[in-house]
Amino acid sequence: MNAITIQAHDDNGAGRQCVSRRAFLLSSGAIVSLAGLGIPGLVDAAGTPLQALRATYPRQRIGKLSALAKGKPVHFKYPYPSVDNILVKLGAPAGGGIGVELDVVAFNLQCTHMGGPLHGSYKEAHQMLGPCPLHLTTFDLTRHGMVVAGHGTESLPQIVLEVAGDDIHAVGVMGLIYGYAHNVTGSRRG
């Protein structure tokens, strides 16, 4: 097994209410060595009791339209405290976008290939996330998180957003979050 080194940076500290150990490591600019499978210590779920899945997606206020600056992602957790996402105003209309310009979108931050962290990789000029530090996959945030180049076999899970006045609410997830078999039990099929 090859040791893989990930250098991660933070986009923006705002919106980080609950900093998990993983988020802390990834946002502190630390160089994190991941040696193979399991990676004890990196992930808060490792070694802890299994996460109980929700029956349905919660409705959760994650920010305000008026507080978003173009190209500056805001981090939030959804639908579980261990799941990192960004809310970003792209400056270009996008699939699933909200706001007057339909350019506000939210996406999960774990690569759909092998789970690499996409923190700090937003490319404002192209409205893309990536490259993933593990194997360089990039994602197009104007097209529902579609893989541009690389290996993810799914688009990046997109957080479904609704607007109520100035408030932005997360209300669901399109796509399976890396590492999960079901995002919520209500979506389970046989």
């Binding site: 097994m1 090859n2 893989i4 193979g36 499978l37 399991g38 990676i39 990196l42 992930v43 779920a45 490792a46 299994l50 899945l53 209309p93 996008a94 699939g95 699933g96 310009e101 339909l102 759909t112 290939h113 092998m114 789970g115 490319k123 192209h126 893309m128 990536g130 490259p131 593990l134 194997h135 360089l136 990039t138 197009d140 104007t142 097209r143 529902h144 579609m146 893989v147 541009v148 180049a149 690389g150 290996h151 993810g152 076999t153 799914e154 688009s155 997109q158 399109m174 796509g175 399976l176 979050i177 590492g179 999960y180 078999a181 079901h182 995002n183 979506s187 389970r188 099929r189 046989g190």
Partner: protein
């Protein structure tokens, strides 16, 4: 608002669940169906109606779900499908082998292999288009028939054609990679039983070698192992970005491996993802003008020789001197594919002569080479330093050289001779981390029964030597009366594609003699009248209806069973042999091609086609692999000793497999990691193995490699190159072609997989912004590429004098005709392309980019110059993808 302007052109809504395999799910090993790397995969199979639990003890993944962290065992929704197994519906997960220690350690994988489950037949999705039963074209429409009638009709007309027109008139166009069992059966039929020279593989017009200059230098194209790429400190990538076409080789062995901080040099007009990564990590992008690689290689050699950076110790030991070049009937230049007398002195050299050649020609000077290649002189010089200059501590850099189709499909012979010479003077070729190899395209799945009557080829080189058979030209000229095509588009894959398919159509559907009833005798009379009136008969074996061969042209279409539907075997590009397990039932009456061949052989009355299963073919073929780099005969022998089937013994090797050629030591099978390595010389053999000299020395008579000269003004090259350059007065630019990471080959599977079809719903054309702006083209526009002068070689020209087969002479003698070609693609405007060069998807039947390329093979090797298309770009209109949010990202590939 934006939604009104953004059509839903193609939308797949992402699932947020995937079934969990129960702990008693059956697990089988396989390897990826697609690129040459062949990552190891596991198939989890269990009956519909059950599901595993989220605790590690309750599922077959042995993982708690959700699994926290990265690189954990996980299946995405695209890795699931429901198939039929023993007639009952079963869930399958096809996921990379997370326990793999070779090829794709830890379960790395590509997007193509990662979606393998989606290729399995399931009538609920586009795999419902699979061919389900044999069909015969009746007045234009394909009608179901039995296997018996289909093969009887084939045998009836075959016997007539063989009797009246001879073996030449009966041909095969076949994949060279789709598993040992099938390729052996097909070549046994064609070469041994029928005895025809009219056989060509999927990627060539004739049965010739690929990287011919490597062969002539004595370097096997697949000598390196993935570990070698991992160990290299510097990689020189010629005409290839392995990220796009050999994904896991790049993401595991180039980005990581033993030397993760290696420096990479990329020679390609397209800055793809791997190139951008390489440049960011201290490497170099040499955005070459198509076709000029030879000059670049020679200029690099000149910088190295001028500075005495060559590996003199290696040269003294391993480079043939002039006597050794001439010796025996080995692999010296005089016994290669090119006639020795006519070229004597053109190519061959020794170290002294090679230096004189490199230093004596003006075009090899840095500033001149920069002008011809379009690369910056300082970049060429820096590249020479990286690959050859001893480091401050005196150590030589460990440099490996990879080439692929951008190299040998633009100037087949000279790009490969010049690259092999460059690599050899840098000390590469036979030791760990210092190798010269192809990256590889498809996997290595050819075991040929051999024995073909190549002396019957109508073509010849100047002098006495026979030339390999050009099946395209033979067909266009109306000499082929019966063709059986196995698993290839034929036309889109070859040059001047539209001209080829016009010819095929003219001789089949446009012929007045069309099958009108399914009476066997009536069919024969019709087809007999067809071939006697200038027409021909096509049979197409494939898994899907192939456009236009299967859908419009073939008289008989046969349904093939494929990956996952039969136990098959083959090697990857480091010669690693694995069993590709059968795990579900083929659809309808689909049968593996070896079975179809056997059925036909019985109708022909041929004996010794008595295979009961694919293992029987595997064991019979084993002895035909002896002496080659894919030798697995010792495994078949050992299986027999153990009283087990060959397939079953191989199955025990799982996703690790064993690297061929297989040897035996202390009674155990031992693989061969790299070729030409002197440490492979074990002396005595202990079992039924073959200790071929190429295992521990170079593939020449002397065991030493041969330095080959590559003069830019060689008339067999330069006349063609001058003729096919874009004509700026017409507004033409180079229109080259190739593959990108997210799709494989013609897209036969990928364009039917929901996720990948959404990513690439239509073929692309990547255009530099400067070229696009001049033509009013924006990203998302449909663009036509049109070449009003596509050169096509006609007839089977015979060389007598030296110059006879060069382009100008062929033109003068009436052996070149001109035609036109076009295709339409969706523009992606991006500075990742070099200005003056556009890049299209290769081999997409709906947009045959090869239509604008010239069907005039390299006169030295009979390989086409696939990458040298040209054309005028014209905007057709906006595609729906221009503004769609749901399909076809138009973003650049070089974002790092």
């Amino acid at each position: 608002m934006a939604t009104e302007n953004n059509p839903i052109s193609f939308a797949v809504y992402a699932k947020d669940y995937v079934p969990v395999p129960p702990k008693d799910a059956q697990v089988l090993t396989t390897a990826c169906e697609y690129c040459t790397v062949a990552c190891g995969y596991k198939v989890y199979r269990w009956p519909v109606g059950k599901e595993g639990g989220v605790r590690a003890g309750d599922n077959a993944l042995k993982a708690d779900l959700p699994a926290g962290g990265v690189m954990v065992p996980w299946a995405s929704p695209s890795q699931h499908n429901v198939v039929r197994y023993q007639g009952k519906p079963h869930h399958v997960l096809v996921i990379p082998d997370f326990a793999a220690t070779v090829v794709n350690p830890g379960g790395d994988h590509s997007i193509r292999g990662g979606t393998l489950a989606q290729k399995c037949y399931n009538p609920e999705n586009r795999t419902s288009e699979r061919l389900l039963y044999p069909m015969m074209r009746v007045r234009g429409t394909l009608m179901p028939v039995s296997w018996d009638l289909a093969t009887e009709a084939m045998a009836d007309i075959s016997k007539y054609v063989l009797e009246k027109y001879g073996e030449h008139a009966w041909g095969i166009k076949m994949y060279s990679y789709q598993y040992f069992e099938n390729t052996y059966a097909i070549t046994k039929l064609g070469m041994t039983s029928i005895g025809t020279p009219s056989i060509a593989p999927h990627d060539k017009c004739s049965n010739t070698n690929d990287a011919t200059g490597l062969d002539d230098a004595g370097v096997d194209s697949f000598a390196a192992s993935y570990e070698d790429w991992g160990m290299a400190e510097v990689c020189f990538f010629s005409g290839v970005d392995p990220y796009e076409t050999k994904t896991t080789l790049f993401t595991e062995w180039i980005m990581h491996g033993k030397t993760p901080d290696k420096k990479c040099i990329f020679v390609t007009p397209h800055m793809t993802t791997g190139v951008a990564w390489g440049v960011k990590n201290g490497g170099i992008w040499l955005p070459i003008i198509p076709g000029t690689d030879t000059i670049l290689h020679n200029a690099l050699a000149r910088v190295i020789i001028e500075n005495k950076w060559q590996d003199q110790e290696f040269i003294d030991k391993w480079i043939a001197n002039s006597w050794e070049v001439d010796s025996g009937y080995g692999r010296g230049t005089r016994n290669t594919g090119w006639q020795w007398r006519t070229t004597w002195g053109t190519w061959q050299s020794d170290w002294g002569d090679y230096q004189k050649f490199i230093l004596g020609r003006d075009e090899h000077k840095l500033e001149n080479a920069a002008k011809i290649t379009g690369c910056k002189a300082e970049d060429i010089r820096r590249a020479a330093e990286l690959i050859a200059k001893p480091r401050p501590n005196g150590a030589r850099p460990k440099t490996s050289f990879m080439l692929e189709k951008g190299n040998y499909w633009s100037n087949n012979y000279m790009n490969t001779t010049s690259l092999s010479a460059l690599g050899l003077i840098c000390g590469a070729g036979n030791r760990p981390g210092r190798m010269i190899s192809r990256g590889g395209g498809h996997q290595r799945g050819m075991v040929s029964a051999g024995g073909g009557p190549w002396w019957m080829d109508p073509e010849k080189y100047p002098g006495r030597r026979k030339k390999s058979f050009n099946l395209d030209r033979w067909m266009v000229d109306g000499k082929l009366k019966f063709a059986w095509v196995f698993g290839t588009t034929w036309f889109a894959a070859m040059m001047a594609s539209q001209e080829l398919q016009d010819a095929a159509f003219r001789m089949t559907r446009a012929n007045p003699h069309q099958i009108g009833s399914l009476d066997r005798k009536a069919i024969f009379e019709t087809l007999k009248a067809r071939v006697d009136s200038g027409g021909m008969v096509f049979v197409d074996s494939d898994i899907y209806p192939v456009e236009p061969l299967g859908t419009q042209i073939a008289d008989i279409v046969l349904p093939a069973a494929t990956w996952g539907e039969e136990d098959f075997t083959r090697c990857n590009s480091e010669r690693r042999l694995r069993l590709y397990s059968k795990f579900y039932d083929p659809p309808g009456e689909a049968k593996p091609d070896w079975w179809a061949v056997q059925k036909f052989a019985h109708k022909m009355g041929f004996s010794s086609y008595d295979w009961k299963n694919s293992n029987d073919v595997f064991e019979e073929a084993a002895r035909f692999s002896r002496g080659g780099v894919l030798n697995y005969h010792p495994l078949a022998v050992k299986a027999k000793e153990m009283g087990v089937k060959g397939h079953e013994l191989l199955r025990t090797y799982g996703t690790t497999g064993i690297q061929t050629p297989i040897r035996v030591r202390d009674g155990e099978l031992v693989g061969t990691q790299r070729l030409h390595d002197p440490t492979n010389n074990w002396g005595e053999m202990e079992a039924a193995e073959v200790q071929s000299p190429f295992m521990h020395a170079f593939s020449t008579h002397s065991g030493k490699a041969i330095l080959l000269k590559s003069p830019w003004d060689f008339p067999g090259w330069i006349q063609f190159y001058e003729a096919v350059k874009p004509r700026t007065a017409k507004g033409e630019i180079w229109v080259t072609n190739g593959r990108i990471n997210e799709t494989w080959q013609s897209g036969f599977d990928d364009l039917r997989k929901p996720y990948l079809a959404q990513r690439w719903p239509y073929p692309m054309l990547i255009v530099n912004p400067a070229d696009a702006t001049k033509r009013g083209v924006e990203s998302g526009d449909f663009v036509q590429v049109y070449n009003d002068t596509v050169y096509v070689q006609t007839g089977q020209p015979q060389g007598v004098l030296d110059a006879d087969l060069n382009f100008n002479n062929l033109m003068k003698e009436g052996h070149i005709k001109t035609t036109t070609g076009q295709f339409v693609a969706v523009a992606i405007v991006s500075d990742e392309m070099r200005e003056g060069v556009a890049m299209a998807n290769f081999n997409y039947p709906q947009a045959p980019a090869n239509s604008v390329c010239h069907a005039v093979p390299d006169p030295v090797t009979n390989n086409y110059r696939y990458k040298l298309g040209r054309g005028v770009l014209t905007k057709v209109g906006e595609s729906p993808y221009k503004k769609s949010f749901t399909s076809m990202s138009l973003k650049p590939r070089n974002i790092i």
